[in-house]
Every structure is written in structure tokens, then in C-alpha cells.
């Protein structure tokens, strides 16, 4: 499923990142890569999704999240 559908307070793992070269480079450079585990901190309507990964709290626009496929870990 897409990251924007993930439940808050859950743990997910990135399975696939798709999008144009620019999006790929942006998302990689902030530390989100396939295989990395993300903790979903908040996922509220009309707000960016808030995840925690590689020691960093990251805010991701909901639309951009559609390019990030995740599987639920817990």
C-alpha cells in the first residue's frame, strides 16, 4: 500500500519507490530508500505525513507519498 494509507504509530518498511528522476533523488537524499524501516508518527488529513527514519523526523507531502510503497511491519 501507499505510505499515505499507513496508520499512525505503526512501523512500515519501504518496498518500492517510483516517480521521476527528480523525485527519486529528492526522496533518497532525505534518507528514504527501499528496505528502510519507517515509523509513522502522524498521518492526519490535510497535513503532510510525519515519519521517523534514520534518526530523523521527516514530513512528506501526501501527494508525494503515493510514490512510496510500503508493507506493514507492526
Amino acid at each position: 500500500m501507499s505510505l499515505s494509507e499507513a496508520k499512525a504509530n505503526g512501523e512500515v518498511r519501504v518496498s518500492r519507490i517510483s516517480g521521476d528522476a527528480r523525485f527519486q533523488s529528492r526522496i533518497t537524499s532525505i534518507g528514504i530508500t527501499p528496505g528502510c524501516a519507517l515509523r509513522v508518527i502522524r498521518n492526519d488529513r490535510n497535513r503532510p505525513v510525519l515519519v521517523y527514519s534514520r534518526n530523523t523526523m521527516i514530513a512528506l507531502n501526501r501527494k508525494e507519498c503515493s510514490g512510496i510503497e510500503v508493507e506493514v511491519l507492526s
Binding site: 533518497t28 534518507g31 497535513r47 521517523y52 534518526n55
Partner: protein, 670 residues
């Protein structure tokens, strides 16, 4: 110049703090030629030798996706920097070393600064900088927020990097990247130096990442059959995602034995539970900004007092000069142009000082990132980032403060667009004039007028965003927020003050030019050089009255409209003088000082101005250029005379168009 140092780091790596701490007052802000990106340069002295510093535009990587990254790449590859200082955030080392990993393979000497060591320490992290230095082969130091003395270590690392021409040891990265199918072959096809200063490893990685600049350049240097082969491997390489994986794998390997940390736990602090709450987030942000605005006035007050004192000197100085036999024209230039300008400028500087200090502080401690998060959704509709909400709110108080507040917006195009939209927000001076005029003419209907003005403001901002946004924030570059929320930091007071003083000084010189020029121009147009004849502005006003009638303004109102672009409060003074057959010049100069409203203004207005004209006039001055100081502040922040002029012309024309529309609607009603 002994050497040039370039600062390279992701946003929030503390890059600007280091830049400000190094350069202090010796910095210059401008624009990169032909690009809509801010250019920050400065110099500093160490051991009696002068060094130049370039603060490279903030970006998350070196891939040529935007102007910022292209400028950074061009600066580094052209050999303008003798050494590159790469910054990373100690508290988020796993992620923030990415810039270093993306730089590895560029053959320009570098050293690594692990910033915000104190934050990492608070989180219970221990970093062995020496061990990392041994692995990387370049000087590595830790820098802490609170200790400025540590810059000794900074200089030592810098000099070592320059002397040894230290390059990053890329063997570990090479092992990781060569796990990508065809990478080794790619390195053979694109040998070292195919493009100057870049290694085969770096170019191959960028080729896989579809980096436009590298691919274009390679097409010019490599044989067509080689390019074909390169393209084949590239296509199957997996893009930035796969090279990113390799880079992070390398970082993890580097940090093994270097970074010790407790269990990785995330818990939102009290402050974040409030700011990030879906319910309380927006009110909390708005309150924060309002308190910030009030806080800005405290350091501003002494400046404002001084500015007003200078304004008060006009009369006694004029008298003294008169009795000394100085010619009248010189006296008016000295008093009504020079003294008046500096009175404006000082009052403005106080406010700029306050706003930059308070909102610079909010940026530094990490609050601004939360503001960005909360308003990302709403501001993205205008092509802006969440932070833009702050200048908009400040502009309800003062447009100049709003313009100064855009300093925390890191994208130049979005910064200029934010200022362009902030002009549409009626400022404090407008709010002191509008309700008065509206209730005079429309009684209780004034409420409707104010509602109409607020609605027009929203519409104006929306249209302006469409018109200006197309150029300033290109649709292809409109990406949703992908941003880190940094942990809260303690502010570095020393660096912050040096920065604020530096910016205030810079503002003073640039703004003085604009304000003096505009005030002189208005003086020249409104002064009767030959006694008994009418000033130029007066003559023009009368001649073009048939035209201004279309806007719903007789010549008197039109003159007041013109005066309102210098200062809103001035508009009423001009009206009362002109309808009373007062001297045009003294009306203008009094109005510019914010005084000169006659006691009988109400009767004068009611007997000379019709309702549609009044309504048109209210809209015209509300949405006109805010004032000369806002104009100067816009020039200061955008560092672009072209865009400042564009915005000013747009608002002048826009106000007249609005006035025309409102006037003709008014004619239908009354």
C-alpha cells in the same frame, strides 16, 4: 585572498550559522547571475590572512535537479573553491552524511564538520570524529553550538585540508556501488576526468541517477557508440534509488564503531504535540507568530524613537538654516528629503532588526520547520512553502516587516512570490485609514466594506500567485514538502546577533539609496521651483484628470492616491489640503511626515466626494504599493531591482484597475 572556502550542507545542517559565525558583518548577499537563487558570500580573517567564504545554496543532494544544485556543482567543478567544507548534523548523522556521500568522488579538497554536537550529546550519542577521519581520509571535527572557541578546531581542519589537498577515500563507496549491475563497466566507459574535477566513480553514479548536466556533457565528450553503451547500462541501473541505497550502505559501514547511541526511540515532546496536532497546530502557529511580532517591537522601539526624533528636528533645523541665510530650495531638500528619509529609514531599521532577530531565532531553534509543516497544505495551493504564512501575518502589521520576515524562506523564487503576495495584505496604516473613511461614507455599511476588502485581498493574492508564480516558482519545480523536522536546538546567540547586525547594516545601505531616491523624486515633482507656478505633479494631475476620472478619482483624489504609495497615512493629509485650496507642496510634505489632517476633514470629504468615488478610493489606496519603505525592504530582500520594479508597477496598475471596477459597481448602486 589566501583561499576560498565553500560551505556545503543539507538544509538544517547549521550551514548558515557557520557562515554567519565566520563572516559576521563581512558578508554580502546578492543573486547568482541569471538565476533566481540567493548568493551569499563573505570574508574572514584568520592569523592575519584573509579568506573568502561562499555559502552554497542549500539542497539535499548534488544531483542537478534545480538551479540551487546546478550552481553548487558549477561552483565546485570550476575550481573556484580551494576547499569545500561539508556540514552534517551530529544528531542525525545516518541521514545527514548523505551530502558527504554524494560529494565523495569529486576531486576538490574537502573537510567534514559534524555540527550540533551538543544536541547529539543531549540525545546520548557519542561520535568518534578521529575514527571517522581515519576512515574517510579528510579532516573531521565536531562543532558545538555553545562554544565559539571551537572555531580554532575549524580553522585547523580547514588549513590541514588545504595543505594536504585531502580527498575523500572512496574505496568503501566503490565496493557498494559496484554491486549495481554494470557499474564497473560504466566506470571504464567514463574514465576519470571525462569532465574536469570529477572521478569515474562520481560520474558513473550520476549517470545512473539520470543527472541531466552529466549526461549532456558526456554526449559532447564521448564517442557515439560509447554513449549508446552508457545509456544501456544507465537504463537498467535503477536510478537514484539504487545509488542512494549504495551510499547509505556505505554510510552505515562508516558509522560502525564511530557512532554510539542509545535505543532509537521517538517521542514527541510537549511542544511538538501541540504544534503538530491537527486541531491545535494552526492556532498555536498563529499565536507564535503574533507573539513574535509583538516581540519584534521591543528591540525596535529605541530605533523608532530615534527615527521620530530626527523627524522632529526638521522644523528647528529649517529655522536655523533659514536664519543662516541658506536658500529655501536647499532647506527643503535637506529637511523634506534627507531628514525625512532618514527618519523613515531608522524607524524601518528598528523593525527590520526586531523581525530578523525574533524570526531568525524561531528558525534557529527549529520552530519555523513546524510552521512549515502546519501550513504546507494551505500555502502549497499558492505555490509557496508553509513558512510563507509568517510574512503574511506580519504584513497585517507592517508590510516592511513581512518582507524582512521572508528571510527564512530558503527558495528565492518562493521568497519573491511571498513578498509579492504580502503586499496585498492591508497593513496597519491601511487599517487606520479604511475604517475611518468607510464609516464616514457608509455608516454601519463600513463592516461590509471591510469584508469586501478582505475578500478582495484573498482574490488578489490568488490572482497574483497565478501571474507571478508562473515565472518565480516553475510548475515543474513545485514539489510537495519533503522536509525534515529538526530537533529543537539551543540558539547560538553570538552568531545570531552577528548575523542580525550584519543584515541590518546591509539593509541600511541598500534601503537608504531607494528611500532617498524616491523621496527626492516626489519632492522634485511636488515642489514649485518658480514661485507662483504650479508644481509638475499638480500640472500633470490636472491634465490627466479626464483619465483618472475613469478610475473614479478627480485630480485631488488621484494626487492622494499617488501620495499613498509613499505612505498610507499621508493620503488623508493630501486630500484635506487639496480640497481646501492649500499649498500643494506643503500638503505633500506634511502628508509624507504622517501629519497634516485638517480638523474639518469629514465635512471636506462629504461635500466633495461621492459615495462611488469614496469606495473606489478606499480600494485604490488599500491595494496600492504599501509605502516607500516596503518598496525598499522588497528591494533589500529580493536583491533584484527588476523584480522590485515589476511588483511595484503591478500593484500601481492593479490598484487603478480595482478602483475602476469598484467605482463602476458603485455607480450602479448609488
Amino acid at each position: 585572498m589566501t583561499a576560498t572556502i565553500a560551505l556545503l550542507g543539507q538544509p538544517n545542517s547549521g550551514k548558515s550559522t557557520v557562515f554567519n559565525a565566520l563572516t559576521g558583518l563581512r558578508q554580502h548577499v546578492g543573486n547568482w547571475p541569471g538565476k533566481t537563487v540567493e548568493k551569499k558570500e563573505g570574508t574572514f580573517l584568520h592569523d592575519g590572512k584573509e579568506y573568502a567564504v561562499a555559502d552554497l545554496p542549500g539542497s539535499y543532494s548534488l544531483t542537478a535537479n534545480s538551479d540551487e544544485e546546478e550552481i553548487t556543482r558549477e561552483f565546485i567543478s570550476s575550481g573556484k573553491a580551494d576547499v569545500v567544507c561539508i556540514l552534517a548534523d551530529s544528531s542525525q548523522l545516518e541521514r545527514s552524511l548523505f551530502m558527504m556521500a554524494d560529494y565523495a568522488g569529486i576531486n576538490v579538497p574537502s573537510f567534514l564538520v559534524l555540527n550540533m554536537a551538543d544536541v547529539a550529546e543531549d540525545q546520548g550519542k557519542k561520535i568518534d570524529a578521529k575514527a571517522l577521519e581515519d576512515k574517510l581520509g579528510i579532516p573531521v571535527i565536531q562543532l558545538s553550538a555553545t562554544e565559539n572557541k571551537k572555531y580554532d578546531m575549524f580553522f585547523e581542519a580547514m588549513n590541514r585540508a588545504i595543505e594536504n589537498k585531502s580527498l575523500i577515500n572512496i574505496s568503501g563507496l566503490k565496493t557498494e556501488l559496484e554491486k549495481i549491475e554494470g557499474f564497473t563497466k560504466l566506470e571504464e566507459l567514463i574514465p576519470d576526468g571525462s569532465i574536469e574535477n570529477y572521478s569515474a566513480l562520481w560520474l558513473s553514479a550520476k549517470a545512473i541517477e539520470n543527472d541531466r548536466l552529466v549526461i549532456d556533457k558526456l554526449k559532447n565528450t564521448l564517442a557515439p557508440d560509447v554513449i549508446k553503451e552508457v545509456d544501456g547500462i544507465r537504463g537498467a541501473g535503477g536510478g537514484a534509488v539504487s545509488t542512494g541505497n549504495s551510499k547509505f550502505a556505505w554510510i552505515d559501514e562508516l558509522l560502525a564503531g564511530v557512532l554510539q547511541k542509545k535505543d532509537d526511540q521517538v517521542k514527541l515532546g510537549k511542544l511538538d504535540r501541540m504544534y503538530l496536532s491537527p486541531v491545535w497546530g494552526k492556532p498555536a502557529v498563529i499565536l507564535t507568530i503574533l507573539f513574535g511580532l509583538i516581540g519584534s517591537f521591543i528591540p525596535a522601539l529605541p530605533f523608532m524613537g530615534l527615527g521620530q526624533a530626527i523627524g522632529g528636528l526638521k522644523a528647528p533645523i529649517a529655522e536655523a538654516l533659514f536664519s543662516a541665510g541658506v536658500s529655501e530650495i536647499l532647506i527643503t531638500v535637506i529637511c523634506n528629503v534627507v531628514l525625512q528619509s532618514f527618519s523613515y529609514i531608522l524607524q524601518m531599521l528598528g523593525f527590520v532588526f526586531g523581525v530578523v532577530l525574533v524570526f531568525g531565532l524561531l528558525e534557529e531553534v527549529g520552530v519555523m520547520a513546524r510552521i512549515s509543516y502546519v501550513f504546507d497544505n494551505s500555502m502549497a495551493k499558492l505555490g509557496l512553502q508553509g513558512k510563507s504564512v509568517m510574512p503574511f501575518l506580519i504584513s497585517f502589521g507592517c508590510t516592511m516587516g513581512g518582507a524582512a520576515g521572508t528571510r527564512v524562506i530558503d527558495n528565492w523564487g518562493q521568497k519573491v512570490l511571498t513578498i509579492a503576495l504580502a503586499w496585498a495584505v492591508p497593513c496597519g496604516a491601511a487599517w487606520s485609514v479604511i475604517p475611518m473613511l468607510a464609516s464616514l461614507f457608509f455608516g454601519p455599511g463600513a463592516v461590509l466594506v471591510i469584508i469586501a476588502i478582505l475578500l478582495t485581498m484573498v482574490l488578489h493574492m490568488w490572482i497574483t500567485a497565478k501571474i507571478f508564480g508562473r515565472k518565480l516558482v516553475k510548475t515543474g519545480e513545485r514539489y510537495g514538502m519533503i522536509m525534515e523536522l529538526p530537533p529543537y536546538h539551543k540558539p547560538k546567540w553570538g552568531a545570531l546577533f552577528r548575523y542580525v547586525l550584519g543584515r541590518t547594516k546591509d539593509t541600511f545601505f541598500r534601503v537608504s539609496k531607494v528611500v532617498l531616491l524616491v523621496c527626492f523624486l516626489f519632492w522634485a515633482l511636488s515642489y514649485s521651483f518658480v514661485p507662483g507656478t504650479d508644481p509638475i505633479l499638480f500640472k500633470i494631475g490636472k491634465v490627466i484628470e479626464p483619465v483618472t476620472k475613469v478610475f473614479g478619482m478627480g485630480w485631488q483624489l488621484f494626487m492622494a492616491f499617488i501620495a499613498s504609495s509613499v505612505g498610507k497615512e499621508g493620503a488623508l493629509g493630501v486630500i484635506s489640503a487639496l480640497f481646501n485650496d492649500g499649498s500643494f507642496y506643503s500638503a505633500f510634505s506634511d502628508a509624507m511626515s504622517g501629519a497634516g489632517v485638517a480638523a474639518d476633514l469629514n465635512e471636506v470629504l462629504l461635500s466633495n466626494v461621492t459615495k462611488p468615488e469614496a469606495l473606489a478610493f478606499i480600494f485604490a489606496i488599500t491595494f496600492n504599493m504599501p509605502c516607500v519603505v516596503a518598496l525598499a525592504a522588497t528591494y533589500q530582500e529580493t536583491a533584484s531591482a527588476k523584480w522590485t520594479a515589476k511588483i511595484a508597477a503591478y500593484y500601481t496598475v492593479g490598484a487603478l484597475v480595482l478602483s475602476t471596477i469598484v467605482y463602476h459597481i458603485g455607480l450602479l448602486i448609488w
